[in-house]
Symmetry: C2
Subunit: 257 residues, 2 copies
Amino acid sequence: MERQLIPIDDRGFLLGDGLFETVLFQAGKPVLWGAHVARLQRGCAALGLPAPDPNLLKAEAERAIKDRRLGSARAAVRLTWTAGSGGRGLIRPETPTPRLAVSAAASPRPEAPATVIVSTIRRNARSPSARLKTLAYVDNVLARREAEAEGADEALMLNTAGHAASATAANLFWITEGSLYTPSLACGVLGGVLRAEVLASAPVEEVRANLDTVLRCEAAFLTNSLIGIRPIRVLAGRFLGPHPIIDTLVEKLASRF
Amino acid sequence: MERQLIPIDDRGFLLGDGLFETVLFQAGKPVLWGAHVARLQRGCAALGLPAPDPNLLKAEAERAIKDRRLGSARAAVRLTWTAGSGGRGLIRPETPTPRLAVSAAASPRPEAPATVIVSTIRRNARSPSARLKTLAYVDNVLARREAEAEGADEALMLNTAGHAASATAANLFWITEGSLYTPSLACGVLGGVLRAEVLASAPVEEVRANLDTVLRCEAAFLTNSLIGIRPIRVLAGRFLGPHPIIDTLVEKLASRF
């Protein structure tokens, strides 16, 4: 029970000063565990936080799965690693003592293709938090509310320069004239774990593309660790069809989601 | 004791989905209380959250001051109002039940003028969270770390268009040829409570100004509810002097900080 509460002076709570990972568990086993831990460690280096012990993360994740009796389910474990308590206002204590919070929940995979609108909220390519999985996710929450308000599943966020960046909780890929594209990380994109798997599995061009360029695509899909590869059926009001490149990728990466 | 802990499924903790205010208390009495409550209420409207009952806020703030025996001190009360628990990932529950967390601490006023560097981290004028006091403050934490690393007190943040926006926890004003300027809110600026007091007390031009324009100033100062009006002694390596306009403002607004 104690593990389920955090003090209100936690800097993650007060300032979003921390990071998280959401890891897929299939039948009690984590999927792409090493990539999630590596991203969390890179995030710690970027924020100037001590990194967690991977063994501790693993033990706590497995315990959360067990406690929630999710050992035979498709489940998501959320690992939250904060800057801990203390400091004066924005200034961290000289030696921060990070805090770990772990939870688990069932995570069924969405079966239907996604409907995606374009958010009015822009991503900031000049902000570290746009490229790191920090706790500062309120812009994404608000962009997702815009999607909900229009009955859509997701919202495409452009960056302040007008280039496509990502959805609120997924990376974006599109196919134009048979070639596969995704926004480059420099556009203010979180480097998704499944995005990296796609890049390693197929020729993909990482680009700066404005919305018009993206909308000339013949097909598109979203990726994240929990939803896997999810085709887009409607993007900014345009209907998109299935595509053999997507089918091939789904088949190739089936074990990763 | 129970009030000092929050559940780890709180959306403020998980996603920065919430708002805060930091209110100065002098001898047990809040300063500019109405302005803080009004800003929190505007923030709730922007985020789509139910707003708190001002009487509850007042009672809890006074209780925090009393509990910490700060009734005769200069103190800061932090009011944190989150989207509460629940929902699925980014998506809030249909009827969010916000959570209030309140804490208090002594808050001596800095006596020395400030040394200010220019942060590499940009503010996003196209993000609601740049203009609202949300819990997503990690960019400000990182920008302040840049200041600390150079032995400075604060960091000036430009926006992605290169216009001056604000410091990490204060608004910026400068004086050029005897006129007073501050970045307009459209630059990605949080509308500070003391900033509004300055605007109401003196002729100020709200502008979009690039760094070069700001650095041509003859004097500059920072404002926030806790530090009050704090002159800048060094701005991006340039030494700045005192100025009678600043002295007049400090005198005029003395009761507000």
